[in-house]
């Protein structure tokens, strides 16, 4: 299983090298062509039985995190967020900083020291810092330089037989699925694109698609599952354990009706659990892919994930398998999608 290993890489947007190298080494044997482009996309071609058509599968390698933007005189690290992170989930969490994975914590003023009025306030991100225990700026500079990235320090663990807890399930789950799917020879030339910098604006996929020029594309993602106690059922969007989430639209893409309905009907025919993602929010690489060139048919299948973009997400192995099955069926029955 690739997923555990994948989720333990610290690869914030712009710093995907480690996970990219790992993926490349694992799937080298199936590749007919490998390109790493200027933004750090890993584009792996598997030649099909026929080369009449070109198919693109996309999953992104990057995760949300932090970048070090300053070092104070006392040796604390100032940082900026990379990708969309809710400030409230990062307070009092562990991180790893830089190439050498220096351990650090995101501290906050103790509750005892707060004015009463401050207790309900969300601190500004600019007021937070990472503490690596350095006693001075000079000491900190021995370990960290400006522009180093920091990532959540979270272990991958099995919570139950089915549920896992990890960081970066978004979208290492998608990467794991692509790594499995590449093993089977596809009908048409298929590009497995492990895209960089999705979290800062679908940046990798935007250029990869201009190199690949596919006729049809499928993005494999992880998406927010809001089926948690404080939410109302109408706002769940999707449910953990209910299978592959097929989007009819999100904040960046409206899928063609034929395409997303075909995915749902294929799932039904093949006995794969699937659900419709019921909210027009968020956005993923499909948003960049479908607008490229003269327009490209593109849809998204996602792994439901609770607490996405936080130090610890929860996902179901069965759901991940459903996404893999459905994406596999898409490749096998590709002619039905044209």
């Amino acid at each position: 299983m690739f997923l555990k290993k994948l989720c333990e890489f610290d690869c914030v947007s712009g710093n995907e090298k480690a996970v990219r190298d790992y993926i490349r080494n694992e799937i080298y044997q199936y590749a007919d062509e490998i390109v790493i482009d200027s933004i750090g996309n890993l584009i792996v071609k598997r030649t099909g039985v026929s080369s009449k058509k070109t198919v693109m599968l996309d999953a992104h390698t990057d995760e949300v995190g932090f970048i070090i933007s300053g070092i104070t005189d006392k040796g604390f690290l100032e940082f900026k967020t990379v990708g969309g992170i809710d400030t409230r989930v990062i307070i009092s969490k562990r991180v790893r900083v830089g190439k050498n994975k220096i351990p650090g914590v995101i501290g906050i003023k103790a509750i005892h020291l707060l004015e009463k009025s401050e207790r309900n306030e969300v601190p500004k991100i600019k007021s937070l810092y990472i503490d690596i225990g350095a006693s001075s700026k000079e000491e900190a500079e021995k370990y960290v330089e400006l522009g180093d990235y920091a990532a959540f320090d979270t272990e991958y663990e099995d919570l139950t037989d089915d549920l896992i807890k990890a960081k970066a399930i978004d979208d290492r789950a998608g990467c794991a699925i692509l790594m499995e799917l590449i093993k089977e020879k596809p009908k048409y030339d298929t590009y497995f694109c492990f895209s960089a910098q999705e979290e800062v604006g679908l940046r990798g996929a935007k250029i990869a698609v201009n190199r690949i020029k596919p006729d049809i594309a499928l993005a494999i993602e992880a998406t927010t599952s809001s089926d948690v106690a404080p939410s109302e059922e109408k706002d769940y969007v999707i449910r953990l354990g209910n299978g592959a989430a097929v989007s009819f639209a999100d904040g960046a893409t409206i899928a063609s009706e034929e395409f997303y309905k075909k995915l749902l009907s294929v799932a039904e025919e093949e006995g794969i659990k699937a659900q419709t993602k019921a909210a027009i929010t968020g956005g993923n690489d499909a948003g960049a892919i479908h607008l490229a060139q003269g327009g490209i048919k593109c849809a998204t299948i996602s792994v439901p994930c609770r607490y996405i973009h936080s130090p610890a997400g929860i996902a179901s192995k069965a759901d991940i398998d459903s996404v893999k099955q459905l994406a596999g069926a898409f490749l096998r029955r590709i002619d039905e999608f044209y």
Binding site: E233, K234, D235, Y236, V237, F248, A249, I254, A255, S256, E257, Y260, T276, A278, A279, I280, T281, H290, L291, A292, Q293, G294, G295, I296, K297
Partner: protein
């Protein structure tokens, strides 16, 4: 009547099949080829040996999409495009299969949060509702077409008025230029169709034909565009500052042919021109707009005189030496 049929056809962003069908009926007899692309743009090509010109009018309209069906058969929804949430209550919406629903809200929705609103399609329970609609289905405003005293009131004049103008230009035009009449998809969600169409057409010149606000209703934000004041030649909106050569050409043609015109500065919203002018190596792009009151409501209002002026001006542009 053509414009009535165009406005009343169903076509929220991304679900433009019905309106595409209607427009292709009108354009096919006058075009050398008519095709659609992966994004749902409908492109009618009138071949010529002159300059390659792209005319773009978006055919999609704003709407809503069903996100949840509750046990009593009420629907929850998201918006497609820029809806004014404060003006949604008790609006009627229509699904592509003809079912009508009414929008209302839970109590205590002072900030008009769309998550607290619902659509009532009269279903008795979830089971019945699911026979009528599915999650992901879209609906559009109802808004009857009325024409009197030289003024037209309807839903979706944004931008079926633009589609109407393009069709009329296509019917009448005599030009050596190579012209692509692009009825674009998904403008209301971010100029998406035009981006793909501009890439594939790869024109030298382009005009976006869309609606624009007016500055002539009681105490409204100031703007030098009036209903009935003529074709609005776009200077800028938030997506584009139009090409000076194209703009000057339009003004000269209007003056020469006695076509009433006014100059448009639109401070909110963008148009397909935004997506087109930055395509590939850059496209010299302008805009001609229909002055329209109450945009994005079920009762948009345009003047017939303005429509005629837009048709004449765009025709003159396409027939001119660029």
């Amino acid at each position: 009547m053509m414009l009535e049929r165009l406005t009343q056809s169903f076509g929220p962003s991304g679900r433009e099949k019905e309106i595409t069908q209607v427009i292709s009926e009108y354009v096919t007899p006058f075009s050398d080829e008519v095709y659609t692309d992966a994004l749902g743009n409908l492109i009618a090509h009138k071949k010529g040996n002159g300059k390659k010109i792209m005319l773009a009018a978006h055919m999609d309209e704003i709407g809503v999409a069903v996100t949840y069906i509750d046990e009593k058969g009420f629907l929850r929804f998201s918006k497609i495009g820029g809806l004014y949430q404060r003006r949604l209550l008790n609006r009627r919406v229509r699904f592509s299969n003809g079912f009508t629903g009414v929008i209302d809200t839970e109590e205590n929705n002072k900030d008009y949060n769309i998550q607290k609103m619902y659509i009532d399609i009269g279903a008795t329970d979830r089971e019945q509702a699911e026979k009528m609609v599915s999650v992901g289905d879209m609906a559009v405003f109802e808004g009857e077409y009325k024409e009197e005293y030289g003024v037209i009131i309807s839903k979706a004049l944004d931008n079926r008025a633009g589609c109407y103008i393009l069709i009329k230009v296509l019917e009448q035009i005599k030009s050596e230029n190579d012209i692509y009449f692009c009825f674009t998809s998904q403008e209301e969600v971010g100029l998406r169709g035009a981006k793909a169409a501009a890439y594939s057409v790869n024109p030298e010149y382009a005009l976006a034909v869309d609606v624009t606000d007016t500055g002539d209703t009681p105490n409204c934000p100031k703007m030098a565009v009036n209903l009935g004041g003529g074709a609005a030649v776009k200077v800028m909106d938030r997506s584009v500052i139009t090409n000076p050569d194209v703009r000057i050409k339009l003004i000269e043609l209007a003056k020469k042919n006695n076509i009433p015109y006014q100059l448009e500065i639109m401070t909110d919203g963008g148009t397909d021109a935004g997506a087109i002018h930055t395509s590939r190596e850059g496209v010299k792009t302008g805009g001609v707009s229909v002055p329209t009151r109450y945009i994005h409501s079920p009762s948009e209002m345009v003047s017939k005189k303005d429509l005629e002026a837009c048709i004449k001006l765009i025709k003159a542009f396409c027939e001119s030496n660029l």
